[in-house]
Symmetry: C2
Subunit: 430 residues, 2 copies
């Protein structure tokens, strides 16, 4: 049994307490063997002056969109999608998706993220990139039917279902999948009625955008006579294994449905602010018992994939939305950064304890912005940054050691991504 010990640091336990301890990992099994004093493994990672935390979990992303980072800022969701993003995405090749995914995975590893959920297309390319990069992921092919004829719509739906069936358990079990209709307004009711039961038969969860903007609520209320999440429940899309992205404009009845169903909500504060979509009632959802996770959304609406930025944003906007500075406090934020999001998207990750997957990050605390050390949970929620991550470990493997990413060649990824992005935009603007 190959073992790795992470020594000399403090550790963040699942109950939110911080204590001085080492962590011993079984690298073959990919699990944490022990958390305690003076643990020696065959290999050692130095965590002195650092905090060992669960790896961060990014509950909603479109990782290949890194190629469009900064391409079209300062526009509202609808015109941004229709005038800029979709035309550019229309030009994306499978190779572009692979290159963009590599860039996003590199950024996530450098920011301490070890698990994520992603909705995009050309998904086998992303599977391949995740396999090589070493992260854990729940992946799915995103389906939009409203711009397609019936044959095109069915093909897209079959692709999503087929991807979910075929790739579940890939990358040595690090990859799980989901059926991913884009949203309740961009996929027709007849298709949802037909394909949701098929997803259930296949045993895959369902992930979709819901209640992101008012424009995603009003048409459903007008056409169906019920709120979007009541419509989702009618369609059988509100099961414990399912999770929705955003949940900005949810009313009390919908919060109740989410809590009762056990369906996760992935809150994406930066994207919701940047697109002026609104403020999700996170404190209310937490109080009601909804499993609220955190996600970056795509880099084009954020503009980075740092979960530590997202944590700070969630605390900030959570207080504004509740009009209460004690709302969404640092302890809840650190849970959302780790195990709450893992629970929302159905991955076993986000906890630092014996017998669970060894998905970890080591945060360097010896920086001016993290001094003094009155409260390390506060530091993680409000002051730590992606650049403070010293090591990243997923499934027992070291993905980054002393800021050097071991599974992807950083210079080559940046160069390929820059070239692909330039060519993509040139094609889109032709």
């Amino acid at each position: 049994m190959a073992t790795l010990s992470i020594t000399g640091g403090q550790v963040l336990l699942p109950d939110g307490t911080v204590t001085r301890a080492d962590v011993l990992i079984d690298q073959e099994g990919g699990e944490i063997l022990e958390v305690g004093p003076d643990l020696a493994g065959e290999e050692t990672l130095d965590a002195s002056g650092g905090l060992v935390t669960p790896g961060f979990v990014n509950g909603h992303s479109h990782v290949a969109m890194t190629l469009l980072r900064g391409y079209a800022d300062d526009k509202p969701l609808e015109s941004w999608l229709q005038e800029d993003i979709w035309p550019a995405e229309g030009e994306l090749t499978a190779e572009d998706v692979r290159v963009g995914a590599e860039l996003g995975l590199l950024e996530m590893i450098k920011g301490g993220t070890t698990a994520f959920a992603d909705m995009y297309f050309e998904m086998p390319e992303i599977v391949d990139a995740v396999d090589r990069a070493g992260l854990r992921a729940r992946l799915g092919h995103g389906v939009v039917t409203v711009v397609k004829d019936d044959a095109g719509a069915r093909e897209d739906l079959e692709t999503s279902l087929e991807f979910a069936r075929e790739y579940d358990g890939a990358a040595n079990g690090r990859i799980s999948t989901a059926f991913m209709p884009h949203s309740l307004t961009t996929v027709g009711r007849e298709y949802l009625e037909e394909f949701v039961p098929k997803a259930r038969e296949a045993g895959v969860p369902i992930h979709y955008h819901a209640n992101e903007t008012v424009d995603e609520v009003t048409p459903i209320v007008e056409d169906r006579g019920v709120r979007p999440l009541a419509y989702a429940a009618e369609l059988g899309m509100l099961e414990p294994e399912d999770f929705v992205a955003h949940g900005v404009h949810v009313d009390e009845s919908e919060i109740g449905l989410l809590a009762e169903a056990g369906t996760g909500v992935v809150h994406c504060p930066a994207s919701n602010m940047k697109l002026a979509s609104g403020m999700a009632p996170v404190q209310r959802m937490l109080e009601a018992g909804v499993t609220v996770g955190l996600g970056t959304d795509g880099a084009a609406s954020n503009n980075d994939l740092s979960m530590l930025d997202e944590a700070r944003d969630a605390a900030m906007i959570g207080k504004l939305a509740a009009e209460d500075a004690s709302a969404v406090p640092a302890e809840r934020i650190v849970e959302m950064l780790t195990h709450r999001t893992a629970d929302a998207i159905g991955l076993e990750s986000g906890r630092l304890e014996e017998g669970v997957p060894a998905d970890l990050a080591v945060i360097d605390l010896e920086e001016p912005h993290l001094t003094p050390a009155h409260d390390l949970v506060s530091q993680l929620a409000y002051a730590a940054a992606a650049s403070d991550v010293r090591h990243t470990i997923c499934d027992g493997q070291v993905l980054m050691r002393d800021r050097e990413v071991l599974t992807l060649e950083e210079d080559a990824v940046l160069e390929r991504a820059s070239e692909a992005a330039e060519s993509l935009v040139a094609r889109a603007e032709e």
Copy 2:
């Protein structure tokens, strides 16, 4: 004449355009001599793969509060101040203020900030720290009269005035001063009526908190029958050289007063969010022609002093407040990060052009989160982080080279600050 050239990078010009150029600096005069191709100085700073920007300007801070970073989070302004911050501040010694200031200055230099405005006490200690650290600053002694008897109030007011008179032009001209009554509610009217004219005689600007929370508005409306900034105008505290912090709850009439008077407003988005104070109408103020700057406020309500974090926060909350994703766009944000804030607080800084003070930062662009390079202004507003700053230059002197701060000894500052913070909290909780 000692000269320094910053070579190989792209430069951000005052009009917001980016071009490939070198920058030649007269180190003795502290000025930019030339911006153009192939400039050779006696010394060279490498900016290849980087963006040379004006140094960032932090328009409102309490820099020594770094000692209280993370000490009391998740509380609203009034109880946070009264239950936690003021009792702890009551225990601060002059030595603590110096140590806390050094920590804050170190953090600012590492984040590319070269000029700032600060309101605190034991100000000669901060003068000394700024002198040694090499930044540019507008400093003032903050006065609260409501908790003091008349003699104590007068002593505090005289201290503020005397400090402003004595230290203006200190540190070889890098330090300017202001008279700083804490706010319109914490300093009695009779004192403002007496001391504002004295500040005018002394030729120093006035800086104060205004309209930060609803609790700073309502009592004035009730007691005086006018909005706070109309009250300030009556008292002669709304002159072009004056600047207020926050301006969250300003109505249209007050926006008009600010625009007409030319009084600057320093927007502190992170602090306003963290304390749930509200959302300043930044887009409205910009449209009305108000000089809106940006500030971090103290580290206890932020929790860092990164102006790049503040920039991103301002763009985000600005859009939410305006309910418009096109509001407070990246170009405005980058102006607020640099010359708009310098203008608001009355310092000559924040521009990269010939004949102005050489206050600069070099941002390393070769990072995953800053790739690809579709739009460098967007990268600066939305994706760049403090850790991306490679070099920091103020008044022609290199304060940080390749992430090594040259004017402060980082390890010693962190150690002293940790010790001082621990001792301070122990005393406060006795």
